[in-house]
């Protein structure tokens, strides 16, 4: 049976600050790079292959590191590895803002030694927090990776509906259509995370990226009029 904790973590109604982030969609829409459902589908697949691999592997890592209850992981090394794979300062800030928000919520909903040890980091990256909570839910790194991708894609889809007035049912179908690709990306990211954690080497985490989206994220952060925080 799916745990009720995982269902809550997947629910966009959980207060985690995610509703104000478009995952790069607003900057692309503003420049006419994303105009319809077909563009959105391309964008989502690109996300899965780019930063998707990084956040999915980070979530799986958070889950794996939280699992042994008897030892406190050196979170700062792994958190720094996520930063190193997130070249845009604006995207790092967005990840940390959402990590802090999820941690705030988690501290009240599911207090645990792992949550406490991660919160000593201050504002950890979002997927690490997500991974720790998936472990607390009794689920594993594969679920954590897929959940990170679910939020990455879901946030982009929701923003596209709000910004472009796309048919929300069409967009939901587009997101559903990314399922196989997301599952494949989650599997690969999980394998990489398992190996990185086994060898205690954050350098083994995937480091794929999308330079154009990083540049757009920086332009977005400096823009005068924006509706989404990222």
């Amino acid at each position: 049976m799916v745990s009720s904790v995982v269902l809550l973590l997947a629910d966009s109604r959980l207060p985690t600050g995610a509703h104000a982030h478009s995952g790069g969609v607003e900057a692309a829409v503003e420049r006419g790079l994303l105009r319809d459902a077909s563009d959105l589908a391309t964008f989502l697949v690109g996300r899965l292959k780019g930063s998707g691999a990084v956040v999915a592997a980070a979530a799986a890592t958070g889950c794996l590191l939280a699992a042994p209850a008897d030892q406190e992981p050196d979170w700062s090394r792994w958190d720094a590895a996520v930063s190193a794979r997130t070249p845009s300062p604006a995207v790092r800030a967005a990840s940390r803002a959402q990590g802090a928000a999820l941690l705030r919520t988690a501290q009240r909903m599911w207090p645990s030694p792992a949550v406490a040890s991660l919160s000593r980091l201050g504002r950890p990256h979002h997927p690490l927090v997500l991974g720790v909570l998936v472990d607390a839910a009794g689920d594993g790194p594969g679920a954590a990776a897929l959940l990170a991708l679910h939020h990455l894609l879901g946030g982009a889809c929701s923003a596209a509906v709000r910004l472009l007035g796309l048919d929300p049912i069409t967009v939901a179908a587009v997101q559903a259509g990314t399922g196989p690709a997301a599952e494949q990306a989650a599997r690969r990211a999980t394998q990489a995370a398992v190996e990185a954690v086994r060898r205690a080497d954050p350098a083994l985490l995937p480091s794929t990226g999308t330079p154009l989206l990083d540049v757009l994220a920086e332009l977005h952060a400096r823009a005068e009029v924006t509706l989404f925080a990222s």
Binding site: R13, P15, G17, A18, H19, A20, A97, L163, V225, F228
Partner: protein
């Protein structure tokens, strides 16, 4: 696993940790009612004897903050603009995390006595969660139509102070202030309502008195 006899006992979490001692006042209401003008008026009137900070939530992100800066009512670093992803009501009610983050960051930096959280302009159903603010003001304007108080909605009926602004426009838009006052009284019970023209009373007189009362209650 939980024992059968424990399973129906839902644990209630402890109260959230409160960072900072500031009174937090939410200011909400529809677009164009005068929320930012009210914030500016309160800042001007209070800044000499109350430590202040402001969080703005307008969809045009820095626009409200810039308005406050341009009018020189508060130094830049006491104003934080929060973006709401096209959903101002979500940011003040359903998912308050980004606003809490802004309030706490300002509180840690400036130790204010009062933080004003200004919502982006929304509709009559948009109200603040009391997880974010201690009390809330709902700002309507006369030009929005004198039927608005009768329509009700949680902002009109349950806000701690209802402000009906732009009374000077009443004759121009054919609004009956007595009708607005009577309808507001009917749905608000003991909760106070103020009719004001911020243009004619730039010190926000009666609203300022209410805010000072709230500060004194702390």
């Amino acid at each position: 696993m939980h024992r059968e006899d424990q399973i129906d006992r839902v644990p209630i979490p402890a109260a959230p940790p409160r960072r900072g001692t500031a009174l937090r006042i939410g200011i909400g209401g529809p677009v164009g009612g005068g929320k930012t003008a009210l914030v500016a008026a309160l800042c001007r009137a209070l800044r000499d004897d109350v430590r202040l900070a402001v969080v703005t939530n307008d969809i045009y992100t820095t626009e409200d903050a810039d308005f406050l800066r341009r009018h020189g009512v508060l130094p830049d670093d006491r104003i934080r603009a929060v973006r709401t992803g096209c959903c101002p009501h979500t940011a003040i009610r359903d998912d308050i995390t980004a606003n809490l983050d802004a309030v706490e960051e300002l509180s840690a930096r400036h130790h204010p006595d009062l933080v004003l959280v200004e919502s982006g302009g929304d509709n009559l159903t948009a109200t603040f969660s009391y997880g974010l603010v201690d009390v809330q003001v709902f700002v309507l304007d006369v030009a929005g139509g004198d039927k608005v108080p009768r329509k009700g909605g949680p902002g009109v009926t349950r806000s701690d102070l209802l402000v009906i602004n732009k009374t000077d426009l009443a004759p121009l838009v054919g609004a009956d202030l007595d009708v607005m006052r009577r309808d507001a009284l009917a749905v608000r019970g003991e909760r106070p309502t103020v009719l004001i023209s911020l243009r004619e009373q730039p010190d926000a007189g009666p609203v300022l008195d209410w805010v000072r009362d709230q500060l004194a209650l702390r």
